[in-house]
Structures are given as structure tokens and as C-alpha cells.
Symmetry: C2
Subunit: 223 residues, 2 copies
């Protein structure tokens, strides 16, 4: 079966790709460059896709950062470091909706039956488009939005990590042989992929490796 | 109220904008350049947005045509002229899903309560993402996908022309004073916006003007 994996360059989506690859699926990787600050993610996604020999890796530019409204795309907003409550300023409006929509179009063209997205329980607490209700609603949409859906088959959205903690994901990735040194989580990574060590994404990653009892290969630029 | 109008440059979305403008809404226009053959549409959208004094007109590039699979984005495929049955080759996979997703993100940033899309009954017969079931599913998605949705308000998707024929739309646009000479429908318009007169979109437009009993200002390059 052909599957599309949304590949951000972070460790969650790398683990999802490793899992689909291990299950023997023919994997296609899709990275959406939406104007995020941390462009090192894109390079990281390239290296990860290449290491799993995906059939194709497409990088789609969406000139979406022009809208602002998120610390990930607007340099005038600071990336938070304090583990704020509520929906954080790093939320990019409708990001996962846009990425899944683009994946849906590609899935129709290449006849893929599944789209994987690496959203998980940690993000769930903050971002609306990382919740099970969002994935369910997108699955409903996919059934009516597409030519293949109308003709009777379907493209399903699968979020296999949705109930996992960061430590669970790291443990799974480790078991599957993911090279975490290739992955970038930091919201403000430098161009070589080194991390700040201070933002929420860095904190979650570091805590995850600690809770999983595994060595963290992350390189920091503050070191 | 702030509203976003998806503005393609065609006569349907121009009529939708005219209607929202007449209703006194503060209109923002969004045009998605997804690599369509008929780039004259984009220029047309600019002129229409300008004629209605929209607060902002954003043109978002999505490098989406790279996937192919549609005669509108793939020059290797011919634009059909015969009024084919079934879902036509001009269908762009998940196009309306992608455009509404981008609009949804912008709506969150500018605090717009409504997104207008000019899909209608004529397209309905062919394209899956022009049907009432698609609009309903996207409305359900919008409620769970966004920060504002989670926080209790909502962004609604409105397709006011969905039950209209092309002749109905032309009659409505005429009543509202739409300058149809600014609009481009042809799937393979030349760079100045002149139409081929042969493709399905030209045929529907010409028949619509005839059925509405109105003069058709379309310029053809075959003349």
C-alpha cells in the first residue's frame, strides 16, 4: 500500500515514517515549507526521507507565513520558554489543516490510501489541530472532498502517536532504529540544526529523552 | 463583520464578493495561485478586488501544480471541450480543501467570522469539492480545527451560489453591478485574459449569458 507521511523534520514524524517503513508500506514523504522560522527542519526532513529510501519526497512551499499570528512564522513575536498554559503563541493557524489538505491532493494523484501525521498527546494539550476530534473531522472531510472518495474508496488519515507521550514516542523510535541525531525539534534552531535548549519544544524533547531513559543526541548552540 | 472571499478571478467569486460588499461586510479577498494554467485569472482577481475596495487582497502561492493530475496544472493534459460526463480531468485534487484551509488560517489571524466560496450547482455535477456535503464537512472541520472554534466562536463557510445555475449567477451579478468584463472563466485564457471559446468553462459561461438574456462581454482570442 502507498502511504504519505507528513514529515516535518522533528522526531515524531520521523518515528511515524520508521513505523510505516517497518510495516512494509511504500512511503512517500511530504514536507510543507510554510515560512517557519526553524528552516533547519526542512534540511532535517530531507535527510530523514533519504535515510528511509522513500519513493518520493516532495517539499511544497506555501506562502503562508505572510499572515503572521504565530511566533513560528512572525519574527516580531518571541518564542515562549515558560511552558505557558492555554493555546500557545507558537500555534500556527490551521497549519495541520493546510498540510493535510495538500497531502490529500497528492494522495489522489499517486493513489495513496493513507496519510500519516505525527500529532501526539503532548501537543494535544495545546494545539486544537492535534486533537482526536480534529483527525476524525478531517477523515469525514476526506471522504466527501475527493474524487476517489466519491467513487467509493477512501483516503484515511492516521495519527498513530496521538495517544503517546514524548517519552513513549522516543522509546518507539529507538526500538525502530530512528537516528534522532537527524531530527530537529527546536522552534528556533540555527541553520545547522543546533537547538536553543530553552524553548518549549526543546524542553519537551529533553524531558522525553530523560523519561525514556535514553541518551539525547541533541546539539545545542548555547553550549 | 469581517469576511474573507475566495476570489478566483472568475464570475462566480466576483458575484459573491459583490454580494458581501452590498451587505455591508468588511471584505478581505484571498486568491490562491496553485500553478493553474490560466494565470490571467490572478490579474483578473486583482482588478476585481481593487474595484470593490477590499481591506486587503492576499495572493498566496502554493506550489501545488507540481503534483500534476489535472489538466489545469499539467500542460501534458488537454483541456476538454466536449462536455464530458463524470468527474472531469480539469478537477484539481483537493483544490477547494486547500484553498479553504488557507482561508481558515487567515480568518483566525484577522478575526473574520465567515469565508465565502463561489462554488455552484453547475460545478456540482462534476467536482466532488463543490457539493453541499463537502461544504458541510468543512464547516464541521472548522469548528474543531481552530483556536477560535475551541474557544467557543466559529468561522463559518458560506457557499451562497451553491444552488444557482450559471444563468442565475450572471443575473444576480448583473443586478449587483458586477463588471463581467473584468472576469475570466476560460481554462486556457491568454495572458491578457482573452478566452478560447471552446473549453467547458467557456461553453458554460456563454450558455449562461444566453440563458440570462444578457450581453456577454467576453473577448476571444480565436476571433
Amino acid at each position: 500500500m502507498r502511504s504519505i507521511v507528513l514529515l516535518s523534520g522533528g522526531l515524531d514524524s520521523a518515528t511515524v515514517l520508521a513505523r510505516a517503513h517497518e510495516q512494509g508500506e511504500e512511503c512517500f514523504a511530504l514536507t510543507v515549507n510554510y515560512g517557519q522560522r526553524h528552516a533547519a527542519e526542512i534540511d532535517s526532513a530531507r535527510r530523514i526521507a533519504s535515510s528511509y529510501n522513500v519513493t518520493e519526497h516532495r517539499i511544497v512551499q506555501v506562502d503562508y507565513g505572510q499572515f503572521g499570528g504565530s511566533a513560528l512564522t512572525d519574527n516580531a513575536l518571541d518564542v515562549p520558554t515558560g511552558g505557558e498554559t492555554g493555546i500557545p503563541i507558537t500555534y500556527v493557524p490551521a497549519r495541520n489543516t493546510v498540510m493535510l489538505s495538500i497531502a490529500l491532493g497528492w494522495a489522489e494523484v499517486i493513489d495513496a490510501g493513507k496519510i500519516y501525521i505525527g500529532v501526539n498527546a503532548v501537543d494535544y494539550s495545546g494545539y486544537p489541530d492535534c486533537r482526536p476530534a480534529f483527525i476524525a473531522a478531517f477523515n469525514d472531510l476526506a471522504r466527501v472532498a475527493t474524487k476517489v472518495g466519491v467513487e467509493g474508496s477512501a483516503i484515511s488519515i492516521d495519527a498513530p502517536l496521538i495517544d503517546s507521550s514524548k517519552a513513549d514516542i522516543i522509546a518507539l523510535g529507538n526500538k525502530l532504529g530512528v537516528d534522532f541525531a537527524l531530527t530537529v525539534s527546536c522552534y528556533q534552531a540555527d541553520p545547522t540544526g543546533r537547538a536553543c535548549g530553552k524553548c518549549d519544544a526543546c524542553r519537551l524533547r529533553r524531558d522525553g529523552f530523560a523519561a525514556a531513559g535514553l541518551d539525547d543526541p541533541t546539539m545545542y548552540f548555547s553550549e
